[in-house]
């Protein structure tokens, strides 16, 4: 097969389209966010305006708190579930798989309306009801992250070894399995945290104030401030994920055990 000199035309046009689609809006928003008062010059004014607004820290704190709780609850619920599924419950796997895909199928708006209809009053009266729905929304991603990770370890051998040395189930999960699937757990934690901290749909439809809903309200008073926070959260997310992608993979050092 004759080699066609396609590399540079292909890479070039991909780079061109990508910069048009992604760099241009990002660049535009970044420049805009540094506009000075009255649109003159450049300054940090919009960023400073934002952090001095009423409700900035409470909203940020609420979001952080709910995201941490959601990430923690997600692990407490899903790590034992996924370990059991891969160890003894293989015949329930397709059912659990289906339930974990559902949040991608059911539109979040519909889930939010359903929550209003179905949740008991005592839950609807507290912002902590959001934690449960953040966990639901994260399920498709958590399931994949943990499942992929569990399939790379010799689960049965590890469990048998640990149990025959007299460890309880709880201590087997915490001291043997959790360290072995650390990369999957980190991924699940991070995804749940990121999804929760940016969640807008359910939060606003259930009328709670978190950082994203606060940003929309603040943006109605001062669009420059809202743009500043948008740029900040966007660039922050890219930086964080890129750092995580570049971290050396600890799993590679793991001793392989044949099943």
């Amino acid at each position: 097969m004759k080699k066609f000199p396609l590399k540079w035309p292909l890479v070039g046009s991909a780079a061109f389209f990508a910069s048009l689609m992604f760099i241009v809006p990002l660049y535009g928003a970044t420049v805009y966010s540094f506009k000075g008062n009255g649109g003159k010059g450049h300054s940090w004014a919009n960023y400073q305006w934002l952090i001095h607004q009423d409700g900035f820290y409470p909203a940020l704190f609420t979001s952080l708190k709910l995201a941490v709780l959601a990430a923690a609850l997600n692990l407490v619920l899903m790590v034992p579930t996924m370990v059991f599924l891969n160890l003894k419950g293989k015949r329930y796997k397709s059912l659990v798989d289906f339930l974990c895909i559902l949040p991608l199928i059911i539109p979040v708006v519909s889930l939010a309306i359903g929550a209003q209809v179905a949740m008991p009053k005592f839950l609807q009266n507290t912002q902590y009801e959001l934690v449960f729905f953040f966990v639901i929304i994260a399920l498709p991603y958590t399931y994949r992250a943990l499942d992929t990770s569990l399939q790379t370890v010799a689960l049965k051998t590890l469990v048998e070894a640990s149990r025959s040395l007299g460890a309880s189930w709880a201590s087997t999960i915490i001291r043997v399995i959790v360290p072995a699937i650390r990369s999957g757990i980190t991924g699940a934690l991070f995804l749940t945290f990121a999804l929760s901290i940016g969640e807008y749909t359910i939060t606003s439809l259930l009328h709670w104030e978190t950082f994203p809903t606060w940003t929309v309200v603040a943006g109605q008073q001062n669009i420059l401030g809202a743009i500043a926070i948008s740029v900040f959260s966007f660039v922050g997310a890219i930086a964080l994920l890129s750092i995580i992608a570049l971290l050396p993979k600890r799993n590679a050092e793991r001793v392989e055990v044949e099943e």
Binding site: M1, F17, Y32, L99, P107, A118, G198, F234, L241
Partner: protein, 278 residues
């Protein structure tokens, strides 16, 4: 059944926070104002009018952004698989992941900053002699929403379609050459037929995502483009006077029905694609 006891917390959790809300909203969508069983809530959706129109606009938006996302994303995915390796590839992966999940409030504000009437890009283009606001375009219009949605649809396509391209085996290329094929014959007879099911599946996924997206459109349009999720939102906020209290429920169930049909297409396409991987 008793052997499934460790799964009880999971089933209770998803049953209560996922299944029960869906069942509850479905049941209530068949109830009238005085709690009697009725189909009246669905009438405004099935007959022409603002609600049927909203479904039409939502479907059109999902179709257009799905097609744009699928075509451009597939092209990017091919170039990335072929030419981006190692750490550069890893960074591109995580950037795609961030962009694919960027369909939130920040994205809307960023596009206003770039392409709004006073936006930076708008001004630069104007200085270059192209006034994008000379015609009907605004960032708050249907075209504007398509632009913003493409920002997350294209990277989503890259994420879901990349494995399919990476799965094309070098042996197939070699086998084709040995049988006398040139690159075009290889793509026409082998490469593209293998990729079509994955491509269609990924398109369905993009379609479903575009159909359900709420935050970006809400922050961007404030109702200028009639989309079903936005209308449900305004009904819930009580900004719209409706003589039917449970109309929003019927719209929500309508969205679930559309999403289910689309995802059935996705699952079917996935099965077709899996045939080649065994």
């Amino acid at each position: 059944m008793t052997d499934a006891l460790p799964l009880l917390p999971f089933f209770l959790f998803t049953g209560f926070f996922l299944i029960w809300p869906v069942v509850a909203v479905t049941l209530r969508s068949f109830k009238g104002n005085s709690n009697e069983w009725t189909l009246a809530n669905y009438r405004p959706i099935l007959h022409s009018g603002p609600y049927a129109h909203a479904f039409f606009v939502s479907l059109k938006l999902s179709l257009v952004t799905g097609v744009i996302g699928a075509l451009l994303g597939a092209f990017f995915a091919y170039v990335i698989v072929k030419y981006a390796h190692g750490k550069f590839g890893a960074v591109i992966d995580s950037i795609s992941a961030v962009f694919a999940n960027s369909g939130g409030v920040p994205l809307a504000f960023m596009f206003v900053a770039a392409f709004g009437t006073e936006g930076i890009v708008t001004k630069i283009l104007k200085d270059l002699g192209w006034d994008i606001y000379a015609g009907h375009f605004t960032i708050f219009s249907f075209t504007g929403v398509v632009m913003v949605y493409s920002f997350f649809q294209v990277p989503l396509m890259v994420l879901v379609f990349k494995p399919a391209i990476a799965g094309l085996r070098q042996e197939w290329v070699e086998a084709s050459i040995n049988l006398g094929a040139n690159p075009f014959t290889y793509w026409r007879r082998v490469g593209i037929p293998i990729l079509v099911p994955s491509f269609v599946g990924a398109f369905f996924l993009l379609f479903a995502g575009g159909f359900s997206a709420y935050a970006t459109a809400r922050a961007l349009t404030v109702g200028t483009v009639p989309l079903v999720p936005i209308i449900i939102g305004t009904l819930v906020d009580g900004n719209v006077v409706s003589d039917q209290t449970n109309l929003g429920d019927a719209l929500a169930v309508g969205m679930i029905v559309v999403a289910t049909i689309v995802m059935a297409g996705y699952i079917w396409a996935q099965r077709q694609a899996a045939k080649w991987r065994s």
